[in-house]
Symmetry: C2
Subunit: 124 residues, 2 copies
DNA sequence: TCGAACCCTCACATTGATGTGAAGGTCTAC
DNA sequence: GTAGACCTTCACATCAATGTGAGGGTTCGA
């Protein structure tokens, strides 16, 4: 598919799709006219990239962890250098802390909302 | 305490502490000489702000949700407008999705690491 | 009283994720 | 063949979170 369709299906601007490609997060083959040509799995990949970006990860990190996240579990060991492993472990731990922080504060918001509703049931 | 001590205790640059104040995330009283003067709870607040920022929330949102997160559960209802409630609900849901995305991908990284270790136990 | 180590404000620089638009090539339908 | 809707690259703009430094005041200990 071309960039317009991918943009529409992922809710992402064309500009950003080109940016993600520039950052090595997605790849596109090119037609004889120079147009980008995306395959079907790219849709999911873009959605995943968006999710990770929204979760606060920079493209630099996303690029590093993406190879581990491919669906058909095709683990690529050749490039599993010790540095890579260490990076992944560190990032995994950071993600855990991030998620905990989010959930903790989310729960606090939930408690607040519950208290407000009890105080004034008209709110909702 | 003054800004230097707060910076050291929270691992945050003075510049950023002033920025957070400018954004309304923390408050400081002023000494007669104009120096900022922080109280003890500000330490925790700064750490919490850092956590939320790291989790990907913008200062704009953090500022909105902070009042709900105060420790002594002092719920302030006066400003609980319907818009505010809606914002909080939306943000709470976004935080849930963010956390889910993080945990999902974190687990994928974990699986990858486990697979790598099985393949080559020398890696740790 | 002097220097070191603080503090202040102001302002410009940078980085990453984006938006926007210009200048131009391609494809399709009429 | 021409218009409209695509696509290309390039470049400049913006926004939030930061860094950095200038120019200047305050505090404190030797």
């Amino acid at each position: 598919m071309r960039i317009g369709e991918l943009a529409e299906r992922t809710g992402t601007s064309r500009r950003l799709l080109r940016y993600y490609e520039e950052q090595g997060l997605i790849i596109a083959s090119r037609g004889p006219n120079g147009y980008r040509d995306y395959d079907e799995p790219t849709v999911d990949r873009v959605i995943q990239v968006r999710g990770l970006l929204d979760a606060g990860l920079p493209t630099r990190i996303i690029k590093q962890i993406l190879p581990c996240l491919d669906k058909p579990r095709t683990i690529y060991f050749p490039d599993a250098t010790p540095e890579m492993i260490a990076t992944l472990e560190a990032e995994r731990d950071r993600m855990t802390r991030r998620a905990e922080c989010l959930l903790r504060n989310r729960d606090a918001i939930g408690e607040y909302l519950a208290a407000v509703r009890e105080y004034d049931p008209a709110v909702r």
